[in-house]
Structure formats: C-alpha cells, structure tokens
Amino acid sequence: MKELKKIKIVIAGPFAAGKTQFINTVSEIKTVTTERKTSAAVEKNVKDYTTVAMDFGKIRIDDEHELYLFGTPGQSRFDFMWEILGEGALGIIVLVDSTDPKTFHEARRIINFFQSRFPVPIVVGANKQDLPNAWPPEDVKFALDITDEEGIPVIPLSAKNKEEVKKTLLTLLEIIRYSLESP
C-alpha cells in the first residue's frame, strides 16, 4: 500500500491552554495522546492529566496526503519536544487561555522560541472565549507584545467549537497561501 505523505501543523501553547481539545475538535481520528497524571501541585489544581510528549490528530486530504495536527506539551520542561515537533511544520498555532493572564508571558516565550527557530507563519488562538472572564483578543494581543509588524493574527475562539477551530486553522492556511503567492 502506498504510504501517505504527511503535512504537519503544530499546536503549541502554555499548560492547560486547550491544545488537546483543539485537536480533538477537528481530528478525523481519536486524538492519540501521551498523557500522564500531573505531578506538580500547582498543575494538579488545574487538571488531572497533561500531555508529556505530544498529541496528534489527523485529517485525510486526498489519496496521497494527510494533515497531522501535533500538540506540544505545555510545560517548558518539555521544550525539547517543541524543537522536534517544529521541524518541517507548515505553520504554528499558539493557543492561549484568555482567562489566565499569568500564562501570557509563557505564551510569548513560546512564540519567541518558534520564531527564532522556524521561520514559518504563526497564528495565536485566544482560547476559552466562551468563559465569562476571558480577556478580549485585542487585549491578549497587547499583553503578548504582538506588534502589527510581526504579522501574527490573534483569533478569538473556544477550542470546543468546531467552526471556530476551523476558522483558526483557515487563518493560518491563508497566511501560508499569501506567502506562497508573494514573490
């Protein structure tokens, strides 16, 4: 049987930003996860399990190609995985928990990490906009120090909402198309 060619998009972001949920929402297979029980006390207060290596989901494009969505572990102690997963990625979506400003600096650090190593398009997803105390996307943008010159759009979404997840992916893909079409 002919092996399918893999196209990769990376879903990054701080701990508990909603990366696994994002992939779950659009993947055509049950997301493959590498979760372990959270160990740090501060993390246990947020969720019981966390990604330690990667998650992935996939979407079949045609007879020859599959789109893989790779979710990175959120904690910076696993940042060696960010490097591995970023290699060859078409683009990167950095998810942020809009209700948790203490993670915004970590999100910026993740953007810096990928910007300095992989010169590919990046989109920020301001997640959890369905919750009442979510920061608006324009304020998330300011808090992340994203300047217009960086060309990183901040898209409001709830990772549970399929249409909003699709919109985030499509925004990234349109930037990639623009970069392909430009001389």
Partner: protein, 230 residues
C-alpha cells in the same frame, strides 16, 4: 469585558502597557491586602486614585467631574491621589486587579501629571529577576527603537543607566551584547529593556521570513477546501 488577574503574575508595567496601547477609558480596581483602590484611566493614562470601602460605590459615580465635586477635590490636585495611593504600592505584588472599560464619563481637560510611559518605567525599576525573565527571556532577542521612541522618551525622566541601555538598542545587538556592553548589573539592564518594551519605546526586531512553505499551491488549496468541509 473586564480584564482581571493577579499582581503576582501580571505586574503594573504589564497592566499599564495593555491599558495604554488601546488608550482605554475606565476604572482599574485593585484589591490590596489592606484596602481596595479604584484607579481612573483616561485614554490609557492614570489620572486619579480613590480608595473605596465597597466596590459598588465606584460604579455609582459615572461622571468624573461630579465625582471630584462630591469628593471636594480640585482638578489640579488629583495627581496627589496618585502620589498617595499608587506610587508607594508599585512594588507590592499581592493584589487582585480588574479593569472595567468605558462606564465613566471624563471631561476633555483632565490633567495628566504622570504620563503612562513614566509610570511603566517606575514599575519596571521594581521588578524582581523572575519577573523580568518573563519578557527578557532569551538573550538572543534583538530589539529596535519604535519610530516614535523619542516622543515617548521625552515624557520620562530616565536614569543614567536607562539612557545608556537605550543607546545600545540598535536593531542588531542582542540582549547578551547589550548586557555585556552596558557594563552594569544584569537586573538593571533587563529592567530597563522590560520597561522600554512595555512603554512602547522599543520592540522585538522581526526576523525576515526566508523560508517558503514546502507545499504546492494546489495541495494547499485542497487542504483549505477540506478544512472548510469538516
């Protein structure tokens, strides 16, 4: 929508940066350990501070001029409330903040005694090493001055150290280069860079994208169509 958070993880330099970027109007409420203070923000500038015993009182006064009249405070004296209820607390890290935009009506002639850029620099001078590490996280970062940097700098009384650090920001030196050439302690350099970044005086220099996506336009169009149909 309110902006809420904890001062231990989102300090005053960060908060003022967000309020200033969008030139917001509204009230920033901070619940300190010993009191609640309402900070009045006009077009991104802190103009007035007022301790309150009950939060709801803030929302009953919707006209700034009438509020001053009620409190018997002259406009030319409102900066004294900042001296008393804001500046001494810049270094305090325990507090919960929430910003509610838009409900207060300001007159056009509310004086700004402390420009927000100046307050951001004052807040940056009190940051801990852990706090500065949040923005100045990578010694390979390169900063450049913003086109309007001189205008913003003119509103701030920079220290000699800060002037020296700013002179080293040239769009090519890395943070590591600046730390080395500044010949001063690292925390002072990093605090200065943090403040300049939050005050919109410098920005990260964008790396030129050199990598073309490794995909054909046809295949990309197929992916886009597939995502749309999901």
């Amino acid at each position: 929508m309110a902006l809420t958070g904890d001062l231990t993880t989102f300090n005053f330099a960060d908060i003022l940066q967000v309020l200033a970027k969008d030139r917001k109007n509204g009230v920033l409420l901070v619940e300190w350990k010993d009191m609640i203070v309402a900070y009045y923000i006009k077009e991104g500038e802190l103009v007035f501070a007022r301790p309150v015993d009950k939060v709801f009182r803030v929302y009953t006064d919707r006209n700034f001029e009438q509020l001053l009249a009620k409190l018997r405070i002259k406009k030319e004296d409102i900066h004294k409330t900042i001296d008393r209820f804001f500046l001494p607390r810049l270094g305090q890290k325990e507090g919960i903040f929430s910003f509610t935009p838009g409900f207060i009506k300001f007159d056009s002639d509310v004086p700004v005694f402390y420009p927000v850029e100046d307050l951001i620099m004052r807040a940056s001078r009190l940051l801990t090493p852990e706090e500065v590490d949040r923005k100045i996280s990578d010694e390979l970062l390169v900063f450049e001055k913003m086109p309007d940097a001189d205008v913003k700098v003119s509103k701030i009384k920079l220290t000699e150290e800060e002037k020296k650090v700013l002179s080293l920001v040239d769009g090519s030196k890395t943070v590591a280069d600046i730390r080395k050439e500044a010949d001063m302690d690292r925390l002072t350099v990093d605090r200065s860079l943090y403040g300049f970044l939050a005050a919109g005086i410098i920005r990260r220099k964008r790396k030129e994208r050199v990598q073309k996506p490794s995909i054909t336009l046809d295949l990309l169009s197929k992916i886009i169509e597939k995502i749309k149909q999901l």
